[in-house]
Amino acid sequence: MIDFVKYKLDNGLVLIVHTDFSTPIAAFNLLYIVGSKNEDPERTGFAHLFEHLMFGGSANIPVFDEPLERVGGENNAFTSNDLTNYYITVPAENIETAFWLESDRMLSLAFSQKSLDIQKSVVLEEFNQRYLNQPYGDIWLYLRPLAYKVHPYRWPTIGQSPEHISRATLADVKNFFFSHYAPNNAILCVAGPVDPNEILELTHKWFGSIEPRKLANKSIPREPEQTEPRFHTLEREVPFNAIYKAYHMCNRMHPDYPAVDLLSDLLSNGRSSRLYQRLVKEKQLFSSVNAYITGDVDEGLFILTGQLYNSTTFEEAEEALSREVEELKNTLVDANELEKVKNKFEANFLFEQENVLNNAMNLAYYEMLGDANLLNNELQRYSSVTNEDIRRVAASTLDVKNSSTLYYKSKINGKG
């Protein structure tokens, strides 16, 4: 149980405070409700580019990091399809510096052509490092547009192509900032050895005078139901074949979400899981195998993936995965196996809460989903899943008509 208090400022900013005296460090987490799904299809990668630009100085403060480091702080940020999250950890005595810095960059960035040009090249190197210079690194550049035809989840957070980044202008960037980065589009969570009243006072002091802004239209096209399986093959200079299968699943707040999550755990969470025991250990068809969900806010993906041995053909791999999937649709899992994955979920959930920054991030994230207190209901949601739920969501989600399959073929060794 994570205790917190919640306030809302007149300008729309939501504040959540979680007090925890077991650590000397305070976490300051500012979540903006803007992710790559809010981008213009012709200008993708902006939410992520902003994550970089946000460190280039703001209206009244020429450098972001230095004053924070001076008081013992550290910060970073990440962007997903759904949100952009900026976070700071700092010795609790110096939490006000975090307020000063984050409120000034919400007020306005120090937009400069030089900073934009440099960060564009940093982002391009990030693109190269993550997607092009790693074996299997480009998989999501192909799997996303295979699975999504309409919804903006079809492009990766870093952008659909490097050209979108390289042609971003200062005007584009300013426009994106003022229509997404605003107190009325943000959730602040502070956690650590702090007094909620003092934090509220600091929030008024530093964020209170920032005017709410007119936000960009947030309606996002819904992905139409998929009616037939899709396939794509890539050939690359990698040592082994790999297979990736994506199935559309329900959204984050759908009542079936925990059941689909546990379904993926039954398949591949832990050494005792079905896919590991049967396909990696017994049949030795794969060197590694995985089932997981993308966890997106809108309708996300259920992924099945494995790396094949050279002795395994794609057909054998497909058949083995399909047999496991069919079993889950046709045979109820026994109580013991279901209890096992629930226990694993509970343990992971508790281990995550041993860290003040995780707590701050989670509270802000659940507030974005609707209410920070959903975090405290999560265990209950998972523990009430039944074996009939598992069978039902397996049948509806892991349907061949709903699948996009990508063969990642080795040019060096591949066969089949």
Binding site: P67, R70, F240
Partner: protein, 437 residues
Amino acid sequence: MTSHNIDRTVQPQRVAVSSIKIPTPDIIDLDNGFKVLVINAGSQDLARVEVIFRAGTRYQPKSLVANAAISLLSEGTTSRTSQQIAEELDFYGSFLEPSFSRDFASVTFYTIGKHFYRSLDVFADIITNPTYPQHELELFCKKGKQSLLVDLEKVSTLSRQRFFTALFGSNHPYGSFAIPNDYDGLTKTDISQFRNRYHKASNGLIVIAGKVDAKQVDFILKGFTNPIFEQCGEIELGLPSFNTTDYRVFSYKKDAVQAALRIGRVLPKRNHPDMPGLVVLNTILGGYFGSRLMRNIREEKGYTYGISSFIIPMAELSVLVVSTEVGSAFAENTVDEVFKEMLKLQSEPVSNDELELVRGYMTGQILRTFDGPFAIADSLASLFQFNNLDFGYIDNLIRTINEITPSQLLELAKKYLDVESMVVSIAGSQKIKGYKE
């Protein structure tokens, strides 16, 4: 509501961090020689137990043996099969993390309070009674070989391996790496013998962290007060001397869009009097986001997504490494810029302002290493690994952070950042003149 007139150009007053409380663990000595640290703290009902042995790859008579001896512990005991172990631990929501380095090998076990006793029983069993079944070993080799072949496709792997080989020589335990074919020659006997020799109490440490009561601690200790951990005969712990012969090495990787760089040299071991100062010097060079390397190579030139430098403490020495991936065309330029930054540290004293900044940042970093029971456990375990549990090291580091002067840093830079002493390893698609392939 209070109204505020604020000057946004002025940083809020900096409050001095009141004190850094270095947590003191309970230390218990078991009869068989195990040292045990207990850190009883935490807000959740969780526990973590790490067992560490001086049993890293430097002691192995043959490639991969140290890795297999620690990684295969959970693949079968005298009373449980691999599958039973997996089922039981998964059912309790417990998990294991084996790891190994040049000097050490360890297994860390995590459990939630309500399954503490039953899951700890499994953990003690795998450490005490492993059998290393033949078919599990074969699978380990089959999977391991495949994953190594994938790793070797990365420029970062090529550059890192070649760096250590150039630094220590390919016959030195710190300079050699497993190759895919090594997986073909590994036997059960190699592994059992290694474990029987090196997974020993006098060679080991147990670190217990989390919300644990006296009864739970006793239960853990009971699991490890086993005579099989007692030593027979002395263990030779020395390292051969090393010889750096190649200072500029290049590894070719077709079509790579980025080059991976490793630049560095050997430094003294962690308890050398120069080390706390070198930790400060390294932070200035490339040890934090605002470091000189990040500012120059990323924020001014945009050559890279990130660059950093770090000091890897090893049992008998340390290694300074600058590490980055840069656009293929920028590799040579990046090396020049890294050298420029090193030369600058040797010729111009660090300004008081920059030094104050780094002092503040490092103080926060030290606090972060004591943020929660698991962070504390990692921090104290590292004292065992590199300083033989000399708790004075942290005090000394804090004192150095607060007191070191620009001229002392200048002297350290002259002594240790001489660019001629740096080994440079580059992996990528564009060959570089003067670099040995």
